[in-house]
């Protein structure tokens, strides 16, 4: 489902999620090992992914590219647990929640 150049990320295609609430839910439902594995595979390719995607018009991405972009959003989502918190939840956030109701079209 990803562009051929990014075939090595196919095992992580369950992180291709269109909306932030889906990505946030997956983050909370994932173990640190799962997020770390995804991060370790995807982060080194992020710069290449950006260069690849920037060659296309953002509002008219072919499907594999759109998937790659959404996978990259998920990478952003797990970057806090992996780089900072060492846990899925924001520390000291208790039962607080903040729902994203409207997000950009792409």
């Amino acid at each position: 489902m990803l562009p051929a150049e990014f075939a090595e990320l196919e095992p992580y295609s369950d992180w291709v999620l269109a909306k932030e609430p889906q990505r946030y839910a997956k983050r909370l439902a994932s173990s640190m090992e799962e997020m770390q594995a995804f991060y370790d595979a995807a982060f080194p390719l992020l710069e290449r992914a950006m260069a690849h995607l920037d060659a296309f018009p953002l509002d008219d991405l072919p499907e594999p590219e759109r998937n790659l972009l959404q996978l990259s959003y998920s990478l952003v989502m797990v970057s806090f647990p992996v780089e900072v918190w060492k846990q899925a939840r924001v520390p000291d956030s208790g039962a607080a929640y903040l729902d994203l109701l409207v997000e950009p079209r792409v």
Binding site: E20, L75, S79, E83, P104
Partner: protein, 426 residues
């Protein structure tokens, strides 16, 4: 030791003697009777921002706004003449809520040619006029022109739609005053890419404003957000603003922010280095006009390490600008003395490339990580305040906006009570 100059009076707070410097009483955040007084004195009488004009782009575009604090629901709609109007969301026949989908208390938006009541199909035009009565001949001389929707004052400032339930209120521009004037010309209309967040918060509405109106907490509560070296440094410095300004009932705080881009890339997280973005937003300014020369109200201290300005427009509208060229808004909508609906909107210039869009995504995700920490302290504070073991709290100079907010609220409540009293007597 101060890192930034304070005014000659020695402190920001003492520039405004009416604020005093003593401990502040928080009964105003726990007493149900006080909340009722706020509803009458403030939420039914001041200009309230309900969103931006982009929410109603075309003739017939509308949205509803639940104003529990003013005991009403409103319809905001753009008419055939392109005017934006506001009406109470109540049918004149027998009081049914006019516009709603499955759940009457949920806000909705859409586009229509007219409003039709779900109950007995009375119809209203976009200008509020009653246009159709089902089985009109069964009624007893009901004059349609006298049964239009109840209009609400609705005025626009720089694309922000404000309503006021008080028909005698002063004009919006006059109410917003000099503080808003200094922001005119900012390219709000270019920043149409929006992230909208909502949460139900178990605290008095003023407590969340308190949390966002001081950054004294930032190096402590958000300590773990930065890299270790960086957070230790921030904690040892503490927080000092560049500037504060009060133009009652409104107020602002100006703050530094050297992180966009950082002087030393090792100060920030790996993902920030790659995406060139973070809490302060995308490091690369969007290519639009109006950001090189900012309106005079921004960065009032004209400081070169300026990072962000936060304006508190009374009562419940925060407008926060980030140096890299985007802004956000907060709204705090009370639903009870100890509850409110918090709404945040992040506004960016629409991304043209995936890289730009990813930089925005990181800013939005980072915003949420911080806001969750901010929100979570509130419920605990509310429950401790309610216990009234401690009732008065010593606010420091960097908490001047909090001192000001609670004073202004108190002044509005007192003034309104005096007026009611005089009206009753006279």
């Amino acid at each position: 030791m101060p890192h930034f100059t304070k005014p000659e009076t020695g402190s920001w707070t003492e520039q405004y003697p009416e604020l005093g410097t003593g401990p502040v009483n928080y009964e105003d955040s726990v007493d149900p009777a006080y909340y009722a007084a706020e509803q009458a004195a403030i939420f039914k009488r001041t200009w309230l921002n309900v969103g931006r004009v982009e929410l109603v782009p075309r003739t017939g575009s509308y949205f509803t706004k639940e104003l529990a604090a003013a005991e009403t629901s409103l319809i905001i709609v753009r008419g055939k003449d392109k005017e934006v109007r506001a009406f109470h969301n109540v049918c004149r026949h027998r009081g049914n809520k006019l516009v709603w989908n499955d759940f009457p208390r949920e806000e909705v938006k859409g586009t229509c040619r007219q409003f039709t009541c779900k109950y007995h199909a009375w119809r209203y035009g976009l200008d509020g006029e009653l246009t159709f009565i089902q089985q009109e001949e069964e009624f007893f001389g009901v004059e349609k022109s006298e049964y239009g929707l109840k209009a609400v004052r609705c005025e626009i400032w720089e694309g922000f739609i404000f309503v006021n339930l008080d028909p005698d209120a002063q004009p919006l521009a006059e109410y917003l005053g000099e503080m808003a004037k200094g922001l005119e010309g900012y390219p709000f209309h270019e920043m149409t890419e929006v992230f909208t967040y909502k949460a139900d918060i178990g605290s008095n509405w003023k407590l969340f404003i308190d949390a966002f109106a001081e950054f004294y907490h930032a190096p402590v509560l958000h300590q773990k957000q930065a890299t270790k070296d960086e957070s230790e440094k921030l904690l040892s410095y503490g927080f000092e603003a560049l500037h504060y300004e009060l133009r009652s009932p409104h107020a602002m705080i100006s703050s530094w922010g050297g992180m966009a881009p950082p002087k030393d890339p090792s100060m920030v997280k790996p993902i920030e280095r790659v995406l060139r973005s973070g809490l302060f937003g995308p490091w690369d300014k969007p290519a639009i006009e109006g950001l090189d020369k900012l309106p005079p109200g921004l960065n009032p201290a004209r400081h070169r390490s300026w990072g962000t300005d936060s304006f508190e427009f009374f009562p419940n509208f925060t407008l926060l600008f980030w140096a890299p060229g985007w802004y956000l808004t907060y709204h705090y909508w009370p639903t009870a003395v100890d509850r409110h609906t918090f709404e945040a909107n992040l506004y960016f210039v629409p991304a043209k490339t995936a890289s730009q869009r990813l930089a925005q995504e990181l800013a939005a995700v980072t915003f949420k990580e911080y806001a969750l920490q901010d929100a979570n302290t509130l419920e605990a504070t509310q429950s401790m305040l309610k216990g009234r073991v401690v009732t008065d709290f010593p606010l420091n100079d960097q908490e001047i906006l909090l001192r000001h907010l609670h004073k202004v609220v108190g002044d509005y409540v007192t003034k309104h009570a005096e007026k009611e009293h005089a009206d009753a007597a006279g």
